[in-house]
């Protein structure tokens, strides 16, 4: 047991990564946060539309895109793979839609057909050429976020600008003399996350109405079909950018976990979106330290930490949580017992009865399920 789980040392597992190992820590944590934010924000809408597994389909179809790129003997550089994977993701959504619409197969079954067959196609294509190209299938499936800080690009800054950048916090990580040194993957994912956040903000109304009531959306002049495909395209971009770091399988967890946790904690969409970002930040940090402690896969630890937060939310949620349920049930029992007792002539043993617990303070209206009743 002691060999499996190393002893937890605060200095080594929590402090050291942020002091001596800051250079890689910062990039890894930022990458995880960007991936979880971008995935989580979009995931919220997938959950609301009951299409949580479409993300699964898109992430698996990425392999088919890579396979096609390999067979066509295209250059296996990042932009080519990105576009190939993106097209495969869009193809997956189209296939799901076509099967769903033109046959009697239901949507969940259509997802099952589309993603397994595209995944299998990818496996076939890659195995056909496996002698000639090197593709790390494990990296595609499980991702390797630890490699993110190794790749770097340099940008020479004007001395004046470099001086200004030097004053920013943690500048020793990304500034070397006059050169700006960045991990390109992290920067790209950062842009993707920012783009997702902006789009969710700009099209908040459209996404809300078309998810809640597509017919109303139409009568308001919002084309729900266009919104659907735009969402799918954006999802493909996010999944494809993310799968390199967390892998095709863990992307699905990143899509659903933050949103699902936030849904337990609030019944207002703006609050849920904010909580999603909070979950992304906390889950990434906790996951990173978990991975440092257990010396395990970082991407896996991100998800396990996210799951831990989900369980915590389940336990502690103010209105849906297990504790809240327990509290309410106990209060109800106590009240019934007292009422029964009040009706009986002998009301001596009141002291021995369970007393109702104090009622928790009223939550703010934005947060609580109802402001009255």
């Amino acid at each position: 047991m002691n060999e499996l789980i190393p002893a937890f040392e605060w200095q080594q597992h929590v402090v050291a990564p942020w002091t001596t190992g800051l250079k890689s820590t910062l990039w890894i944590v930022l990458m995880g946060f960007f991936v979880a934010t971008a995935c989580g924000l979009l995931g919220n809408y997938l959950i609301l539309r009951r299409m949580a597994l479409v993300g699964d389909a898109i992430s698996h179809s990425v392999l088919a895109g890579i396979g096609v790129a390999v067979v066509l003997a295209l250059q296996l550089d990042t932009p080519t793979l990105f576009i190939a994977a993106l097209l495969a993701g869009l193809a997956a959504t189209l296939i799901i839609e076509i099967i769903h619409r033109y046959t009697r197969v239901k949507q969940d079954a259509a997802i099952g057909i589309a993603f397994t067959s595209l995944f299998a196609l990818g496996v076939i294509l890659i195995s056909m050429k496996s002698g000639k190209v090197h593709i790390d299938t494990e990296c595609v499936l499980y991702g390797e976020v630890a490699l993110v800080p190794l790749e770097q690009f340099k940008l020479t800054l004007a001395p004046a600008l470099a001086g200004a950048v030097d004053k920013l916090p943690m500048s020793e990580v990304y500034l070397r003399g006059n050169e700006l040194v960045m991990a390109p993957d992290v920067i790209r994912m950062g842009f993707v996350a920012l783009a997702v956040a902006l789009l969710v903000w700009i099209f908040y109304k459209e996404l809300l109405v078309s998810s809640f009531d597509p017919a109303l959306a139409f009568s308001l002049g919002i084309n729900a079909t266009v919104v659907h495909y735009a969402l799918m395209a954006l999802l493909s971009v996010v999944v494809v950018s993310a799968f390199e770091s967390v892998g095709a399988i863990l992307v699905v967890a990143m899509l659903i976990l933050p949103g699902a946790t936030a849904h337990l904690l609030s019944a207002r969409l703006p609050v849920i979106l904010a909580l999603t970002v909070l979950h992304a930040a906390l889950g990434t940090l906790m996951g990173f330290h978990l991975a440092t402690w257990l010396n395990c896969s970082i991407a896996g630890a991100f998800v396990v930490a996210g799951m831990g937060l989900f369980c915590l939310a389940w336990l502690l949620s103010p209105y849906d949580g297990l504790l809240a349920h327990w509290h309410r049930r106990r209060n109800r029992k106590a009240r019934t017992a007292q009422r029964k007792l009040a009706r009986t002539p002998r009301a001596r043993e009141t002291e021995n009865l369970p007393k109702p617990l104090p009622v928790p303070p009223q939550l703010p209206a934005l947060w609580a399920r109802s402001s009255i009743g």
């Binding site: 609301l48 009951r50 700009i202 099209f203 908040y204 109304k205 809300l208 109405v209 998810s211 809640f212 009531d213 017919a215 109303l216 139409f218 009568s219 308001l220 002049g221 919002i222 849904h263 609030s266 019944a267 207002r268 969409l269 849920i272 209206a365 399920r369 109802s370 402001s371 009255i372 009743g373």
Partner: protein, 277 residues
């Protein structure tokens, strides 16, 4: 399948009405159907619908299950592909006049666990009046609050929508339609599964909207109340059996043509007719 064919009325009553009465303000009629056919998987649901709905009418759409009542509304709103014919709203295709159309869907058509409050749902009715990136302003909130007040749901404005009874949910939908400030309203079974208080509240609002010159098309299921609630009726069973003022249309033979051989309903109707006349 031939039931509707042999039974349908020779001419819909509407076509016999004088044309000039309709066009008082030289505006095209709110709603026109011409030779409308809609089919699901090659099985026609609506067949050759020719209709003109005049302005300021409260029209009840009645007919048996599967008669195409909801389909008619959805086709009018452009939610379904048409197999033939066209629909015009104020003389133009629906896409050009979307703002003039309000919609109350069937209550079951949305997910009531959705994380929005009553106020949020009503504000959705204002989205058609807001541009891209615009958030509802105080003006919109005031309108939404007025609409909630009208359906007596203002005290529930901050509630999450899953914590509402069926009747309250229906009122929220009605408030949302009111907030759309449209000229035509389509309502899909607003009376389904609501309590008596809500039912009378909805009827009062429908009549108020009619007084203000709005045109309303309401899918209705219950024959005995249809006669009280609506001043015109559209009897529908894949084709238009009859359309006209309630007292002209709510007749035994026309209802028989609409409902075909469904004897249980027929006897109910016969009773209702006998009671009234």
């Amino acid at each position: 399948m031939t039931r509707w064919c042999s039974a349908c009325a020779p001419d819909s009553l509407f076509n016999e009405r004088p044309r000039d009465k309709r066009d008082r303000r030289n505006e095209p009629p709110p709603l026109e159907f011409h030779d409308l056919t809609v089919a699901y998987h090659k099985r026609p649901v609506l067949w050759g619908i020719d209709l003109e709905i005049p302005k300021g009418q409260l029209v009840g759409i009645i007919g048996p299950n599967g008669a195409g009542k909801s389909t008619l509304i959805k086709a009018a709103m452009g939610l379904l592909p048409l197999n033939s014919g066209w629909v015009k709203v104020f003389g133009e295709p629906i896409k050009k006049n979307l703002k003039r159309v309000g919609y109350v869907p069937q209550r079951e058509s949305v997910d009531w666990d959705f994380p929005v409050s009553v106020m949020d749902v009503v504000l959705m009715g204002r989205y058609g009046h807001l541009g891209l990136m615009r958030r509802p302003k105080k003006h919109d909130r005031d309108i939404a609050r007025d609409c909630l007040e009208k359906v007596k749901m203002l005290p529930y404005a901050n509630r999450q929508i899953s914590n509402l009874s069926g009747g309250q949910q229906q009122r929220v939908f009605l408030a949302r339609a009111l907030a759309q400030e449209s000229d035509i309203y389509f309502m899909d079974e607003p009376f389904a599964g609501v309590d008596a208080a809500t039912e009378s509240a909805i009827v009062a609002i429908l009549h108020e909207l009619k007084e203000r010159g709005k045109t309303l098309l309401v899918v209705h299921h219950d024959l005995p109340t249809a006669k009280e609630y609506f001043d015109s009726l559209l009897l529908l069973n894949m084709r238009v059996v009859a359309f006209g003022p309630t007292e002209e249309v709510f007749k035994y033979d026309l209802l028989q043509s609409t409902y075909g051989g469904r004897l249980t309903i027929l006897s109910e109707v016969a009773e209702a007719v006998r009671e009234k006349s």
